[in-house]
Amino acid sequence: MANTTEFRTCPTTGLKVDLAAENLIKANAVAAIVFLAVGGLFGLLVALTRWPAVHFLPADWFYLALTAHGLDVLLVWIIFFEMAVLYFASAVLLGSRLAGPKWAWAGFGLMLVGAIITNIAVLRGQSSVMFTSYVPMMAEPPFYLGIILFAVGALIGCFVFFGTLVVAKQERTYQGSIPLVTFGALTAAIIAVFTIASGAIILIPTLLWSLGFVSYIDPLVYKTIWWGMGHSSQQINVSAHVAVWYAIAAMVFGAKPLSEKVSRMAFLMYILFLQLASAHHLLVEPGFSSEWKIFNTSYAMYLAVLGSMVHGMTVPGSIEAAQRARGLTKGMFEWLRKAPWSNPAFAGMFMSLVFFGFIGGISGVVMGTEQINLIMHNTLYVPGHFHGTVVAGTTLAFMAITYLLVPLIFRRELMFRKLAQWQPYVFGIGVAGISLFMMGAGTLGVSRRHWDMTFADAQLPFDYPAAAFLMMGLNGVFAVLATLGGIMFVVVVVGSVFFGRKLGRDEKPSYPEVPPQAAAVSHYGSSESLKIPGTVMLVGIFFVAFVLYYFVNWKYLSEIWPLS
């Protein structure tokens, strides 16, 4: 077959870039940011409604906005961006041509059409079934059809990624093993295939049910298989954003993993066990045995958590090793104090790492424990947890790498630099606040997905403690802050992509700074340095916080559920 692939060489990193892959990265990233803006707006409306003093939307609009928010940000924004990550981590990092670019465009088209169809179905007002769309609540058929089309498009994207790995190996564009960032993307793609298969297994019959061709869908079977998609889709995020952490560490510092083998083993833990955490959504279902619940959410999930803790040590550890190699060796934290905190790629990545570990990670383990899950099951604690993982973790990491993609892939100078410098802090602190205050309200029993926490029209009155109302008010304030950070991101990125100065063919971007060592992102290899005292201290602080919070919840359980 004639090879007509066109490449360019990146003047900053020296990477060979397939132009077809580059265009697909651009298209997927732009679509992702559009849906982030739409979904983020719906999120603000939800938060303003749950803010008792504001109570912005009427009930029907609240559930419509909640459905649109969940779909657009949990699924559409994230998966579009992950397609960009897959093409970047395969074709660009391996210096290969993309396998089947026409298939990739077909996949992109299906995803776009599917996302639009589902959004229209939701906006028509007859499909306010929320992201989970539990049966027997029935949405209009286009709601399910749109998600199925979107999933098929994403599946095509995953197989284009696998095909590109095969092409790169056959054409010997790399030696030995694939680099760690590509391995992280491979992990995300594998989990994506399981996720999409689970979605197809349950959503195709549900579509037929909504069309009247199937008479009954068992609610418990639906919940079980749906969460194989619903929760695993968030595990794609975890794998992808951990890959992004390693990528940013390499591109900003020239950092190599402490040990490529150990980090790959941690990703293997994800491949084997991360999806099993889906069972934590079913921990109060009486139909399942404790063996099934505990195996999936405790024993197996803890192995995946072990993988996350390995990454949580090796990512900052690799940065510390790189900084120390540059002479920043004073004391325990000179490497961190003198890190480029005004570079939004680094600032966003590091906050994503800290918030994901301390907020999303610890709360995830607590929720995955069958007994203490009972304290907060189906309360606002659950969205508090996943705003810590998906928003403070994944979204912030994806925003961070976008600040590198704009100059390196879109070939535009970044505009509004001051705005870009502040954006990760405004968004990160806003989202951390949302997560913490929702978790606080959930611990006090406030249910999730409820329009009116005052129960004003309920026949049996019930009052949450006053502190719960305070928590929901603070949640609203921090949601406004996070929205401001989201708007700043969209303004900087959209402004730069469409109106930023075009970089010349061999011109290097002036901001953010990308050192020549950034090419480390495309190589297999380890720094093999264990002189990381600062990271060891940070990990120690994490473990103390983890143990304390875990046992505080057991103490809390003993108080609300006396055994004597």
């Binding site: 093993s177 491979l186 790959r264 083993m265 293997l268 084997l272 099993l276």
Partner: protein
């Protein structure tokens, strides 16, 4: 493989070392794909569905 100054090919000793099993596993994306689908399919979905089918029907 590499070549010496006379153009004769010789084998680098590093190339002759057997590749460890774990590295072979991690270098095989399709075997990883199989495992990544099989493990959650068996332990989460199939085991879960079997438990649901064993719930007695209400009379």
């Amino acid at each position: 493989m590499s070549e010496n100054n006379d153009g004769e090919s010789r084998t680098d000793p590093a190339d002759q070392e057997p590749i460890p099993m774990m590295q072979r596993l991690l270098d095989n994306p399709f075997l990883l794909l199989l495992l990544g689908i099989l493990v959650p399919a068996v332990f989460y979905i199939i085991w879960g569905i079997i438990e649901i089918t064993q719930i007695p029907i209400a009379e």
